[in-house]
Symmetry: C2
Subunit: 356 residues, 2 copies
Amino acid sequence: MEAGHKMALYLVVMAGGRGERFWPLSTSNLPKPFIPLLGSNSLLQATVARMQPLVPLERILISIGKEHEEVARQQLPQVPAENFIIEPMGRDTSACLGFCAIHVEQRDPDGALLALPADHYIGSGDTYLKTIRKGIDNLEGATAVVFGITPTRAETGYGYIQAEKPAVPADAWPVIRFIEKPDAPTAERYVASGSYFWNSGMFLWNNRTLLDLFRKFMPETHKGLCAMRPLLGRSDGEGQLREIFESLPRISIDYGIMEKSSGLRLIPAEFVWDDIGNWASLARALDPDAQGNIAQGSHVALDSNGCILYAQSGTIATFGVSDLVVVQAYGKVLVCSRDKAADLKRLVTALGPQAG
Amino acid sequence: MEAGHKMALYLVVMAGGRGERFWPLSTSNLPKPFIPLLGSNSLLQATVARMQPLVPLERILISIGKEHEEVARQQLPQVPAENFIIEPMGRDTSACLGFCAIHVEQRDPDGALLALPADHYIGSGDTYLKTIRKGIDNLEGATAVVFGITPTRAETGYGYIQAEKPAVPADAWPVIRFIEKPDAPTAERYVASGSYFWNSGMFLWNNRTLLDLFRKFMPETHKGLCAMRPLLGRSDGEGQLREIFESLPRISIDYGIMEKSSGLRLIPAEFVWDDIGNWASLARALDPDAQGNIAQGSHVALDSNGCILYAQSGTIATFGVSDLVVVQAYGKVLVCSRDKAADLKRLVTALGPQAG
């Protein structure tokens, strides 16, 4: 426990992701982490703010794609300029975290790396930090610590992690296995069992261990990382970095490393968590009015219920409608039935260049 | 017939009206006649353009409220500046037409006055002009000519005019009576009978006869008109004009004069006509797509049907919705069920200052 506290903790905030499911507020130019979905702060800003009590700014790294560097720097002026880790292109979370790991290694070979996605809703900051602290306290002797969300519904859109309840009550549970998105009856069973958790995508490693895992389970990526090491921070290294990065396999860290690793520990998380996969998910993260409407921005909802309204600017007025998503952003208006929100990509495809 | 043609015809386009039922495109600052509801032209512009083959611009008068003078002049640069008849305030159609009548009298004591509302949809320009010409040809010897629309549905939102079918086929039918908005069974009977017509609000008088009708049926207004006569065109007369105008009773020309007049002739109108009372009425004036959606402006309607979409700027995208009115204008968005469109004033009231 003491050792865990002595080890310097580096936070890697992963701000990747697509924009289709939050059109028109979010676009490929401005994916989900960068939009103020739940208030005045973007999810990225909220993620950093939430962790600041635990990690000093100089050890908060922001992993982003080249195309989002400008907006990320604008949104996080407090983060030191050299802490933005710019990916030449997207190669999924394994490449993202391997690239971050060699940056952390350069600063502190003995550091720990906490990876947090930047596009989730977290309900309670205090409980959240307590849970992260439990993870840090349980890292020593583990291959990695994962954070598992106690499921509150039979969600078929998330991955699950099965863990073993300790005989003697303890903060950390041994991980049994990672599970891809289940079907509905299976998800029902998982929720009932008490030993299945939602995979939050939040992971903690000793950074050296993480690089060892790359060597063991993703040797091709590890080779690339080794080749990139001497290029970091060199102004003439960009072209080579790009070339190597491009060659890395597009594989998630879950699939490439976590599912294959033994010795993982899971911290059951007691905070409210949601991946807010689409506009309809906002209903789980924001409080409804008496008619069950969820709203952000200026609006009037008359004889309307169950609607999700988001006005980036101007005003939305609804009258005599139910269960709609209405969004106004950048001069564009979306009106979508709530049950189609998960399928919004189809609309964005139909819009083509009009999607902006 | 020849006499009718010799009499100089003055057109009065009445561009009054409220804005609530076309919020947010229309507002009290920009009522229905001034908005481009059916294309790139406003209804006012379309009304003037439609009549230009029949009436030279120097005899086209535009009757508007003081508050809409600027926008009216902007929209009709071809109309001579002195042809805008500015009402100091709204006092319904009797005051409006009486005020116009003394203007026409000043220019030509022997002129005829054709009054047309500026906020109607007219389906066919050719048939329309033919119908107006029939009216002109039948004015001599009539107290007034009214244009009656052959009803195509049992509309309860319009006034009706009963006329007598001539024994020998003729263009003009003697008017029997004016009827206020009927209930549904009555309207059904009217449509079936063949001798009831929608009151289009389009009237034609010998201007001198019109002033006589004021003297006879609205002596108070007539007295006001006589007092205003010497003030017209005087730069120092504005205050007095305003004072007199304010004292005029708020009564429609239908109620104040037409219903009481005998010797009226009705021209059955064969053109498509609609008063476009609210957003839902657009469905009668514009062609739907294969899914029954009506749209103006940039839009994509995916898995959507029966919707009315109006994008003043930007783009509206609908997905998986039915029978909605969606309007984007001036940064405001309206999403309303079609069957609530006639009641939009309630929403505008609820919006209060947010309605803009």
